[in-house]
């Protein structure tokens, strides 16, 4: 018996990581997603991640599926199963194989027997099998990918019905296509059964009940739906990775979701602008004129929106900006993930500005913040920036079904003709920038309001309560101070942090956004290693009191984030400098999504150092 041959009862069940090593532009994503979905359909939690180059065809790309009975969704650092169809990268890929990992590879690739012969490796004659299937020339690539699906299905004991369901799901109506692909899978599985020794595979799946009622989708799709359920009426955008699919998904579902029940015509327009300067200008025009308006972009686009977002802040125009973050500065790594725009976004534009920021941590929150962002923006009359990221936005996640918005839309303080008439009858007048209610939020009217007494002229220059041009020093100051107070009110409107308490822990773990997944896992691992922690995920700026209270309660807190400068930590420092000494920066900045291992290592290092 070879050293690596596992006993059947020693197999690791529902807890491993498969990585598909492909070339981009070869249609592998159908196959990869199909494996992932089939496992999901078996009731087992899965998380898939696509690691792709900034390029269209011919460069290496990887798709990693983590199968986790415990429901952990973070990335793993090592691969248990490598599916190697890209000869370019095999050697490097092998470096990432875990201790008892295995390799399934295209028989056309020369396997490095000398160095890696001891590893269980399964050659699959993809080309031959495809030929035997009499595949249409145009489909060779696609069917070839199905071959490794079939082989994996056999090796890991994936339920073939689940594979079939996954294919039917993928091909939607097109049963022929699903059938064709399924046949290839079955054929390959049969070949594998006849030719490969499954007992050498130390991993397998077994049905569970942990995904029932769950959906699988990506954060950008969730954002698109949330936006449309939020009643978005106008969107202008400019394509950019990784944000494009927010809008492209909107484009796809618009006819279905937003044709007017009465007339069948659209109640939302999506305009592709000539650039981001224009996209943000359009939504600010629309937001000013009473539409729920949004755009989606990424770092470079956000930089271009700086000037206009200052205007929206100062003229008090509600708009929603999704920034699906990628690695900056500059063009950086356009297809890698980061959380590096926080500091820039928080104070974007010259002059004193403070922007409201939401940070979704899951696809469900992408949906929820999709509609909530409008409520907040319109209530506060200010831009709301939603900071998602590539990992969350472009990868497939299992999730709870989306919840229908629990509250009616809050359109904020908008006055129409009758309200203005009433005001006038009461001997009052409409003053655009006057704090009538003592909450520092003024009333507004929008173009199309035909009551002349409700009309005003907006501008980015100094203005008085009646929106008239003013250079008067006191007028300027009091208006700007009102804006500062208004921003403070936002604390009460934005979603508060989410906690997961440990066992009387004295250490806090603070994070935001998609990094919550590895951090939550790390919290468990640390607990097992005897390091108890409390977890707090921040979901918005400005911070509310709970955020500070959490820091206060703990001896020290690790602020875990995907940027070099500890941007979240900096914002927390500014909020509570007296507690800054408790904050420890954990910055992960290489563009790969975070792993529980990385966090655990760092924290154990520090904690052990302290204990010494």
């Amino acid at each position: 018996m070879q050293p690596h041959q596992p006993q059947e009862d020693q197999k690791k069940i529902n807890d491993f990581c498969i990585t598909f090593c492909n070339e981009n532009g070869t249609g592998s994503s159908t196959a990869n997603t199909c494996v992932m979905r089939a496992i999901f359909k078996m009731g087992i939690p899965v998380a898939g991640r696509n690691i792709f180059p900034s390029n269209i065809k011919g460069l290496p790309t990887w798709f990693t599926v983590r199968v986790s009975k415990d429901g952990y969704l973070g990335r793993l650092e090592k691969d248990d199963i490598i599916v190697a169809v890209n000869p370019e990268t095999l050697r490097k890929d092998l470096d990432f194989l875990s201790n008892n990992g295995i390799v399934v590879y295209d028989a056309d690739i020369a396997y490095p027997e000398e160095s890696h012969g001891h590893i269980p490796h399964f050659a699959v004659p993809i080309r031959r099998l495809v030929t035997e299937l009499n595949t249409d020339k145009k489909l060779i690539n696609y069917i070839g990918n199905m071959i490794y699906v079939g082989v994996l299905a056999y090796l890991l004991e994936i339920d073939m019905r689940a594979v079939e369901e996954a294919l039917v799901f993928h091909f939607k109506g097109k049963t022929d296509a699903a059938r064709l692909n399924y046949n290839a899978v079955v054929y390959a599985a049969e070949w594998a059964a006849a030719n490969l020794d499954r007992s050498r595979v130390p991993f397998a799946v077994r049905p569970m009940d942990k995904t029932r009622g769950c959906i699988m989708t990506d954060g950008n799709h969730a954002a698109a739906l949330g936006t449309l359920y939020g009643g978005c009426q106008f969107s202008a955008w400019y394509p950019i990775t990784p944000a494009s699919s927010v809008i492209e998904d909107m484009n796809e579902v618009l006819p279905q979701l937003r044709s007017d029940p009465l007339t069948g015509k659209m109640t939302c327009a999506v305009v592709q602008a000539e650039d981001e300067l224009s996209a943000v200008g359009m939504i600010i025009g629309a937001g000013w004129a009473g539409l729920r308006a949004m755009t989606a972009t990424s770092g470079p686009g956000l930089s271009l929106m700086a000037e206009y977002l200052g205007l929206a802040y100062y003229a008090e125009v509600p708009v929603v900006i999704w920034d699906v973050q990628r690695v900056g500065p500059s063009t950086g790594l356009p297809t890698r993930t980061a959380q590096c725009d926080l500091l820039f976004a928080a104070n974007i534009s010259h002059g004193d500005t403070q922007q409201v920021i939401l940070i979704p941590g899951s696809v469900n929150e992408c949906f929820d913040f999709g509609w909530q962002a409008f409520d907040i923006a319109e209530r506060l009359q200010t831009p709301v920036l939603v900071l998602s990221d590539l990992d969350l936005g472009m990868n497939l996640w299992m999730a709870e079904p989306f919840q229908y918005p629990e509250s009616p839309m809050d359109r904020g303080k908008v006055l129409w003709e009758e309200e203005i008439t009433r005001l006038v009858q009461e001997g009052r007048q409409f003053s655009r920038y006057k704090d009538v209610d003592g909450d520092d939020i003024p009333y507004r009217t929008v173009p199309g309001n035909r009551n002349p007494a409700g009309v005003y002229f907006a501008r980015g220059t100094g203005h008085d309560e009646n929106a008239r041009y003013s250079e008067d020093p006191d007028t300027w100051e009091s208006n700007l101070q009102r804006l500062r107070r208004k921003y403070r009110h936002a604390r009460k409107l934005v979603p508060g942090p989410v906690f997961r308490r440990g066992n009387h822990a004295r250490i806090g773990l603070i994070t935001s956004g998609s990094t919550q997944m590895p951090v939550l896992e790390a919290q468990d691992v640390l607990a097992q290693k005897g390091i108890d922690t409390d977890f707090m995920r921040i979901r918005a700026l400005p911070f509310n009191a709970d955020v500070i209270e959490f820091i206060n309660e703990h001896d020290h807190c690790y602020v875990i984030e995907l940027n070099r400068d500890g941007q979240l930590k900096e914002m927390l420092t500014l909020e509570a400098p007296h507690l800054a000494y408790k904050l420890r920066q954990l910055s992960h900045i290489d563009g790969m999504s975070l792993t529980a291992d990385w966090i655990t290592r760092r924290i154990r290092e520090q904690e052990n150092a302290c204990n010494d």
Binding site: R258, T263, D275, S278, I284, L291, E307, P405, R459, G460
Partner: protein, 345 residues
Amino acid sequence: MTDEKKTTNAIGLTRQEYQGSPSTLCKGCGHNAIVNQLIQACYELDLRPEDIVKFSGIGCSSKAPTYLLRNSFGFNGLHGRMPSLALGALFADRTLLGLGMSGDGDTASIGMSQFKHICRRNPPMLYIVANNGVYGLTKGQFSATTEPGVRFKRQGTSRYQPVDICLEALASNASFVARSFAGDPKQMRSLFKAAFRHKGIAVIDIISPCVSFFNFAQSLHSYEYGMQHEIPLHELEFVPNENTPLVLKDFEKGTVREVQLHDKSSIRLKKLDKDYDPTNRWEAFKMLQEAEEKRLMVTGLIYLDPDPPLIFDRYNLVEEPLNRLPEERLRPSRESLEALNRSMM
């Protein structure tokens, strides 16, 4: 003037009700003349101020919208970025008419991109460029429409061929392109009226002298030059629809040509020197090219596509104002979300 106060137009408004706050521009600034004729045109067309929304960028010219139509909404946006602001806002209520006011710097220097792209989109909007060939508000720098060879002490010599706003609008498929001169009130007024009735974007480049920084006799943007060199393509008269027989592009009737607008009002062009057909894009290019070579200030209606598709036609939107749709029509049903959820399982 005192008479006028008492007179009202067909919708019962006085001319005064079309005014705005007092101008803070220099006395004699061409932009003031534009404002006056805009007021007059709106008054005579019986437009409701509430049906108009004003937009501008930054510059002396961009301040002008506050000096008219005090009962219209307006937004004085960013330098060079008025078009995007206007476009987004106009989506909110399709019954509104946009009135954009910009300068040569605002449109042809920093604003080139948004200007070109809004021309392609054809929103319902009169887009005026008050073109003085100079930056007024920042005190006399060259703009992209300054002719080469001008010397300013603190700027040196202007160096490049000027941007021709009308040529640019044409190249970008604007559906109504005209040029006028702030010293020619009658022509401006007629053009404004036609433009307000046009279905889509009407770009009007108006040579509008800056008396503080660039009103030199020899400059192409001065009153004196305009007075001496303006060459109208035709005599223009706007004919409101109620009085007009439906003569679609009835070209060669003696010396009068009529171009009908989409709402059946029309523009009557009286032939002057030679005949010019403003529905021929190609002829427009030629005329502009010649005018540039000979340094002529040729004014009038340069190009008109009388019935182009409006931007909204391209988005299949509901007819009523988007910004008045109630929640029921904006938020999809609970069932639809359930169905979506199922489809992602």
